[in-house]
């Protein structure tokens, strides 16, 4: 926590002011004399603990209020620990990651776009004195960092596009650090890495940020991603059986990768590969036969379903095999192909137009025409019935072998050692003496190797030779097979750069039975492989990663063109000069197939792929990046908090407001502060009727209805009557009276209700009528009195109109003279009042009693007194006795409201009669 205006903190002791004021005000309490302190002391003693607590709370609230205001005025700021410098101006380095992992789609938008938008949002809020250096990096910074203003940085960010290279944030951070170290002291420094925060961003540990620099980076939710790592020729792939191996990886949950193999624009194969979570799986896909068997090459792509990062879901390949070298068979004998002769067997072996059993194809030519053949095209030259050779052939064969070719010599049925002497001179074995039918049956393996593996299945002992040469192996040559007698049958060795194999016996049936045996095919394969130059059948793949240069070189034995044209994956052609048998495309900047086309129509294809070895496809977040990770949407906020700190003024102002509210609540008079409690109690009171009744206890309360303007003709009379009631009867009477309206719930707490009036009150509403009826059905008595004491007026009309509305089933009638009302307490002869105009009490009989009593002789007027206690109005015509009678009637009415027809009970009759007889 730091303060923008620390000087304001000097005012902090002012927070103690309320305590001082309180102490002074205690001393300054006004003195006052009072008569007696008994009650006051009791009151004070009762409220002392609570008021002390309240006082303490009040003081605390006031002190807190002042302290919070002072602190708020001081401009409190909470800042991150990394941004310690608090100077003028801000130096900000924005590093935008443009590697291909930023092309991953996250919630519908590429991460790159979201990162850029987050960066731009910061730039918008920078002030004029701030400097920004915006750099775009992938494996390195694309351009060196340089200071500019927010606008320039914004343009640089807007220009940037996500590339296809890997990421190295460490290098970019090191550059940022170098730039910031040169910036002026006292400026705020911040670095924001607008990357995806994935683990692959830091192939090397990042340099520690410079002192006082806030480093922030983006964080994205981890995305599951599956990708194709690599495609290469499978082991064992050959020109005849070409196969590709595909490696697929998954980060996140296990994935089922549906692989499609495309050759050119044609889908050649499909398969599904289960990739375990966080691991990799391999699949081998078979390629179709090459269109050109002489130059077997394939180019295309393997793709899987596009997911979070679509760029890594296809891999391009360009694979070629060297064509299997052909075999040239130079026959010497014209009857070579007759049945049983060696040609007959060899035709069967090489298949003619059909598939070759030996795995290689052969051309047949008469030995005498050898010069017509282009020997360079062949891998092996076979002399199946070597006899006397045409001139020059032996020398040509030797030269062929010396340059790397293979020569395989089988003697003819009529050959003699002398015929073959020209060959014996350089072959690995000399043809020695000719032996006929002398050698024992059977064949023996002298050397075991890949050529002779699996020969145990054959019956070697059944092989027999009718005629054979005794071979004399040259030094350095190896004898592979021998007859059962141990004489070498097959000898192989090198001749110059090439190899040669020599078989001891003719192939035809008159030379032996080998051609008839199942062993014949493996034997022929072994002989061919012994004459084949090494590495002849391996595949090669032309591939490069994005951004690398593509180089096509021509071997010395190949004709090199002057120019080649390169067609890129987008279809564009580039013409390249060939210098020193070498053509170079400086940079292949997007993945795909690049085709080098020579003027003669020869093509060679390069596959360019993303560099999957950098782990860009793994979108899992880095566990502990060297920056503060924030979501893109929160970057703006987090950046300004980290750079400038968080403004805490609102917190303190809120605290002050809280203290103020507390202070106001506490300093309200207690009645106000407990107003809410009162409201609560009132609402409870509304729910539980009868509470007033409980409060009232069993005491009689004079309840008067406030209705109309003239509801209270004699304000003091009810108290007089109630006091008299308490005096002369044993009824317990509550002091005072209760005045209520028809809406009042307390209506139902009193069985007695008095309504007086001189003029017409307002008409009752339906709700009020309903309440009155409720009152009656609850046992209430309503005494209505017309206070005019004269002829019937508007009030009388109102009564006669309204009562039938309340109790429609009955009507207002004069009470009979023997009604219990006249005996309820005093024994009365009849109605009485202050005047004697109507001389009748009317009543509404309802439910076995009089629910409403209606008097018109102003009975209550008899009670009214003036300030000196003299009667207010004279009683006419009877004077004071009539007043007494009126008062007695009033008391009877009150008693009737409490006792009902109790006095009408026959049980009391004798006592009443007795009292009537012996009365005073």
């Amino acid at each position: 926590m730091s303060f923008a205006f620390p000087a304001a903190l000097w005012a902090l002791p002012a927070a103690g002011l309320p305590v001082l004021v309180h102490l002074l005000s205690r001393r300054a309490a006004r003195a006052r004399t009072f008569s007696d302190l008994t009650l006051l002391a009791a009151v004070e003693a009762r409220s002392r603990p609570r008021s002390r607590l309240r006082e303490a709370l009040l003081l605390a609230a006031r002190c807190l209020l002042l302290a919070a205001l002072v602190l708020a005025a001081a401009g409190p700021t909470a800042r991150g620990s990394s941004a310690a410098a608090a100077g003028e101006g801000l130096d900000l380095v924005l590093l935008l990651d443009a590697s291909y992992s930023m092309r991953a789609l996250d919630a519908g938008a590429a991460r790159f776009e979201r990162a850029r938008a987050a960066g731009l949002s910061i730039l918008k809020r920078l002030s004029a004195g701030d400097r920004v250096a915006a750099g775009v990096f992938d494996e390195s910074l694309r351009d060196p960092l340089a200071w500019t203003d927010a606008e320039g940085a914004g343009r640089a960010l807007a220009r940037a596009t996500a590339g296809l290279r890997g990421t190295d944030a460490a290098a970019a951070l090191a550059a940022a650090r170098g730039l910031l170290e040169r910036s002026a002291r006292g400026r705020r420094r911040a670095v924001v890495v607008l990357g995806d925060g994935a683990a692959h961003m830091l192939p090397a540990p990042a340099p520690a940020p410079a002192e006082g620099t806030a480093v922030l980076g983006l964080r994205f939710p981890p995305l599951a991603n599956a990708w194709l790592m690599e495609v290469r020729p499978a082991s064992g792939s050959s020109a005849r059986e070409p196969r590709l191996e595909v490696r697929a990886c998954a980060a996140g949950p296990a994935a089922a990768a549906a692989l499609d193999l495309w050759v050119g624009e044609r889908r050649a194969a499909s398969t599904t590969l289960a990739v375990p979570a966080g691991g990799e799986a391999r699949a081998v896909l078979a390629l179709p036969p090459s269109a050109d068997p002489r130059r077997p090459a394939w180019a295309g792509r393997v793709c899987t379903r596009a997911d979070a990062l679509p760029d890594d879901d296809q891999v391009f390949y360009a694979v070629r095999h060297r064509a299997a070298p052909r075999v040239l068979v130079l026959r010497c004998d014209a009857s070579f192909e007759r049945a049983g002769r060696s040609g007959w067997f060899l035709r069967g072996l090489f298949g003619g137009a059909e598939r070759s059993l030996a795995g290689r194809d052969a051309d047949f030519l008469e030995a005498s025409r050898w010069s017509e053949a282009d020997l360079v095209r062949y891998g092996t030259i076979l002399l199946p019935d070597a006899e006397r050779l045409p001139p020059g052939l032996a020398r040509a064969l030797e030269g062929f072998a010396a340059r790397g070719g293979g020569v395989w010599v089988v003697p003819g049925p009529r050959a003699t050692p002398e015929d073959l002497a020209e060959l014996s001179a350089w072959l690995p074995a000399r043809f020695g003496v000719l032996e006929e039918s002398a050698s024992p049956r059977g064949l023996k393996i002298l050397r075991s190797g890949p050529e002779t593996s699996g020969w145990d299945e054959f019956e070697l002992s059944r092989v027999a030779f009718a005629r054979r040469f005794r071979l004399e192996p040259a030094p350095g040559a190896a004898a592979w097979l021998a007859d059962s007698g141990g004489a070498a049958m097959l000898v192989a060795g090198s001749v110059g750069r090439g190899r040669a194999a020599v078989w001891a016996a003719p192939l035809g049936v008159d030379g032996g039975n080998l051609g008839l045996k199942p062993l014949f095919v493996p034997w022929a394969k072994a002989c061919l492989s012994l004459t084949l130059p090494p590495d002849e059948s391996e595949a090669s793949s032309r591939s490069a990663r994005v951004g690398a240069s593509l180089v096509r070189t021509w071997r010395a034995d190949e004709p090199a063109p002057d120019r080649v044209s390169v067609r890129g994956p987008d279809g564009r052609r580039t013409s390249l000069p060939v210098r020193g048998r070498r053509a170079q495309l400086p940079s292949a900047d997007r993945p795909g197939l690049y085709e080098f086309e020579e003027p003669g129509g020869q093509r060679s294809v390069f596959a360019v792929n993303l560099d999957s070895s950098r782990g860009e496809s793994d979108l899992a977040a880095a566990p502990a990046p060297p920056w503060i990770s924030v979501e893109p949407d929160a970057l703006e906020e987090a950046f300004f908090v980290a750079a400038y700190g968080r403004d805490r003024r609102g917190l303190f102002l809120g605290l002050a407001a809280l203290a103020l509210a507390l202070e106001m609540l506490l300093s309200l008079p207690r009645a106000r502060s407990s107003a809410s409690v009162l409201v609560l109690l009132l609402s409870i009171h509304m729910v539980i009727p009868g509470r007033a009744l409980a409060q009232q206890g069993d005491r009689f309360v004079w309840t008067q209805l406030e209705l109309g303007r003239t509801w209270d003709p004699y304000p003091d009379a009810p108290e007089q009557a109630a006091a008299r009631l308490a005096e002369v009867t044993s009824a317990r009477v509550a002091p005072g009276r209760r005045v209520l309206t028809l809406d009042d719930q307390a209506l139902f707490a009193s069985p007695f209700l008095y309504l007086a009036g001189r003029e017409e009150p307002p008409e009752l509403t339906d709700a009020e009528l309903r309440r009155l009826r409720q009152f009656f059905s609850g046992g209430g008595l309503l005494w209505v009195e017309d206070s005019t004491g004269g002829p019937p007026g508007s009030f009388d009309r109102w009564v006669r109109r309204t009562l039938p509305r309340i109790l429609p089933e009955t009507e207002l009638r004069p009470l009979p003279s023997d009604h219990v009302l006249y005996r309820a307490f005093f024994l009365l002869r009849g109605p009485a009042g202050r005047v004697r105009v109507h001389a009748a009490v009317e009543g509404v009989a309802w439910g076995g009693r009089a629910a409403v009593l209606y008097t018109r002789d102003d009975a209550l007027g008899a009670w009214a007194k003036d300030a000196l206690g003299r009667s207010l109005k004279a009683c006419v015509p009877g004077g004071e006795p009539q007043r007494e009678q009126a008062k007695r009637l009033t008391l009877n009415l009150l008693m009737y409201s409490m006792t009902g027809s109790y006095k009408a009970d026959a049980v009391h009759q004798s006592a009443i009669l007795d009292k009537l007889r012996n009365g005073p």
Binding site: R26, A29, D36, L39, S47, P669, A726, G869, R870
Partner: protein, 286 residues
Amino acid sequence: MRWLDSADQARLRALSLSPRRPAAAPGAPGRHRSLARGYSRDFAQHRPYASGDEARAIDWKAYARLDRFYVREYRAEDRFPLAVLVDTTASMAFSGEGRGAKFDLARRLAAALSWVALEQGDEAGLFPAGPGAALPPRAGSARLPEIDAALTALAPSREPDLAAALESAAAALPPRAVAVLISDLMGDTARILKALRRLSAGRRELLVLRVLDPEERDFPYEGSLRVRGLEGGEILIDAAEAARPYREAFRRQDDAYRASLRRSGVPYAVASTDAPWHAPLARLLE
């Protein structure tokens, strides 16, 4: 007359004071009914003649109608002593803002009551509840100036304890008197009530007239106060906070007096220094 001018006297003419319970034995002849039968103009009842009755008491008209001797009986008339008790404890000296002291009001009321009693021929006397000289009840028009002078001489004392003062005053009262206590009844409610019962004990009849200043009832003060009591003590109090509970406590005390006195049949009225005193006096004597 210092405490009762002629205008007041004219207003008081409507009032009369009479004991509720008729005296059992006749005292000095006066205008009040006595339970004893005697000679006066008030007819009480007819009684069958018994030997020994005076012949002039026989109602001859009744004899003419009924052919039996009936004797007319009349109520004896009585004079009673009125003892005006004036509270002289310290709290009576209290006077509210711009109003007279309670004690002055008490003196006016005492003079008025004495006048009412003397005017109807009864005896009147003055008894201070607390220190001060007492005047025993006497009849006659000369008594009023004496009482007026005694009232002038009376002053609120330093005595703090009303209950104790009432107890000692009760001992000094004549046994068969109508006693009117004029007091503010400020102090320990329970003890004062006990003393009041003592006052109304026996054949004495008690009326209580309470004198108050509205400030004692309403406590209309504000702010922080250092309250000093006239009967001793000092309290530091926040007036605004204490006012409400004080008023509540005061109301409860007044209710207690009112209810307790009503139960024991003692008339009770409250006179306030901010209102005319005639009305409470009239209520009291009703």
